[in-house]
Symmetry: C2
Subunit: 495 residues, 2 copies
Amino acid sequence: MASYDDVMSLSVRRGFLWPAVDLYGGFAGFYDYGHHGVLLRRRWEDLWTETFLGLSDNYYLIDTTTILPEAPLKASGHVDHFTDLLVTCTKCGESHRGDHLLEALTHEEHEGLTTEELDEKIRELKVRCPKCKGELGPARPFNMMFPVGVGPTGKDRAYLRPETAQGVYLNFKREFEALRRRLPMGLAIIGRAYRNEISPRQGTYRMREFLQAELQIFFDPATFADHVPLDPLARTPVRIAWAAEKHEPTAQDIAAKDLVAQGLPSWYVYHLVHVQRFYLDALRVPREAFRFAELDEKERAFYNKVHFDVQVRQESLGGFKEVGGVHYRTDHDLKGHETVSHEKQSVTVGTTKLIPHVLELSFGVDRNVWALLDLGLMKGERMSLRLPPRLAPVTVGVFPLVNKDGLPERAEALFATLRKRFAAFYDDSASIGRRYARMDEVGTPFCVTIDHETAEGKGVTVRERDSQKQIRVREADLEITLSRLLAGEASFDVA
Amino acid sequence: MASYDDVMSLSVRRGFLWPAVDLYGGFAGFYDYGHHGVLLRRRWEDLWTETFLGLSDNYYLIDTTTILPEAPLKASGHVDHFTDLLVTCTKCGESHRGDHLLEALTHEEHEGLTTEELDEKIRELKVRCPKCKGELGPARPFNMMFPVGVGPTGKDRAYLRPETAQGVYLNFKREFEALRRRLPMGLAIIGRAYRNEISPRQGTYRMREFLQAELQIFFDPATFADHVPLDPLARTPVRIAWAAEKHEPTAQDIAAKDLVAQGLPSWYVYHLVHVQRFYLDALRVPREAFRFAELDEKERAFYNKVHFDVQVRQESLGGFKEVGGVHYRTDHDLKGHETVSHEKQSVTVGTTKLIPHVLELSFGVDRNVWALLDLGLMKGERMSLRLPPRLAPVTVGVFPLVNKDGLPERAEALFATLRKRFAAFYDDSASIGRRYARMDEVGTPFCVTIDHETAEGKGVTVRERDSQKQIRVREADLEITLSRLLAGEASFDVA
């Protein structure tokens, strides 16, 4: 059970991530990544790309600008509707997010209120400024996009994109033409998005600059189900928390086919199953720490027709927290762009001409990284980070037992060989115990030590992070042994 | 010899990159990447990371925010000095970059002029507005950073970073502490930077949002040379164009040791050699299309003491163009941050306490991608893109000769095997000739075709992009043959 401070302090100490610009007193809502954090994040990204692009050979990569001019964001609705309610204290001038003020008092979520409803609630509950206890002013909508002036006069109004999705929609037809002209077509993007959060908080959970990994699937609603057959997955239990029961902590396991019987489109359920597999099998999130949480109409973004959050339980953040979402956005976005740009967004596939609908699989990369740190962190006599081996920044540590008797030379030679194949890290500083401890905290699954017996031809020791067990392996067998351990083809005991 | 239009049209047609937001009439200075562009860029990035992180086991990755508050950018000098001179027409109101106005007339570069010098030149040369021939107003400095207001009042002034470097400097001490506490230490970052260019132009050459790949090497000037011995490279010829001779198109080959004799630090020359190797050997840029161009004091950025541009000749851009730079930034940046933040930036290594100096290897990723497209594009009867195999978005195309007689099933099975190991693309549409042509234009080095003889056990044909030769290969040997061809261990004739 890791607290917020446990995760953050390990993260800073071992170079995963930390609050940005601390040299100048900090920069709320911004985080920087160190070497180990970049590696962990990249392994997550690679696994994500492999998993979701692997769903079809008609899914591709795309990358678009982070600055967008006003017109497409007007068309998408973000200029008018991408707002939070802001409440400013009449005494100290501090601004607060309205729903968070209520949440702090009632421990319930209050998303989707109108200005009037919020003002009413504030009066009713007698909410005062949390900072100075002063009287709060009236609520007003606050657009969360960052405006940017482009060009020499700065008059060309633009914004930092609030989501990666819009840039992808703007390019749908270009990619459709350049590639196979078939539906469903998927376009995956990993990139930054920006939201001027009124009160950023909880580490990487609510940031002002963050990374999204999103797959936009463009499809024909009449035929999508034929392309993603649910039959082979019909009995898969899916962990669901319904909107009506969301204050109930227990999720139910519901068979995929029963979710369809309850009204969800089968292609939607198909993707729930694949997202769940990604979390349970690839990221190794414990089943009880995972769920899909249905969002009701008030909570859903204005463009989503069906919306389940992907949630992972994280003690450091106080329970289940959103790390992604599965959003049926209908043809809202492409239609909007067609209307405002007057450029046709319809395509012809076979004999059908249509504006495709969109299913969006959306993930917060930083939130996923935080979840991995939270779930992996084990406290006790020694601290260790139980990352799945494929996600660990360093796969194998290589140490000479002592810095003499020719051991460093042997160890360096072995390191030179191993680094060609594995993410290896050489360490000859401090005691062997401290070196193991350091690797445990970085999440390194295996460490190899060269000792005096190695020089006698008796192999090296391989130590496993989680069991702390050690085995001796012949140098000639080391690479294959490590490969098999990493692939899960051998367990440590019988290696 | 590819023209600008050749490169751009191939790029759009085959999904590499294109002007952003064309749906809404375009967005000058911004480009989006399609599937093949993302893959080409990623392969470049991977090769860059492998090459430059491979220089030392004390070089690491880092990633920092793209928005920075004002204080560090004040300290770095960007708030006061990161300016171009802007000249506005008194008649039509159009703004122009002063040095570009002069350049267009004189065909010489005019960087580094003061406002007064520029006004004087404009009078002297009788320069008028290129758009309406009106009279030009006085020059004024224009800061190229994009301001961003952060927080609910928008009063916390911040900027989109104009270079990735500053975020790295802000984190130097954190990474130093979290890692080995040794110098030289390198921190590599690949990320976006933003410049509000007055007149963006020439495709991805002068963009407002672009990707940089930079390695910041922090070192002790007294000992750096010992860590990067030039001796084994002393006779390597380095292609140099001196500042005094920069309008002379021919670069000289100068031995590394002679560059040291002419006053360049040996550690600086060491890195020139490695950068040159990256271009000539890894990216396979022809020797005559590569050079380092020395910048004189007026042209250098205000923070650089020694500065050579990395230039690649590109017909589409009219000649040699900057794709990177090797910058000795001294201790300018860390000292600046220490002075303004009052946080000590010195570290102790052994018995020496110092503020490290910085050598920056800086590369424009989009410019490198463009250079690869320019150099690779071959026109003639058929168009093809001769990318080095390691950089090609698709490594192997897989086709059934015809869509009957069981060939598609065999081809799909083969594709399923190959895609586990190679970036493979399956195509069963249109004639075989058109499929080859498509792959040639994407830069795919090899295509495999399954025909009726395959069904008779006579293997598949493998076709090479550049020679258009075809050989027959047994299915059982295909993977190893492709691997050897890609690794350069076999040439196509003897495969």
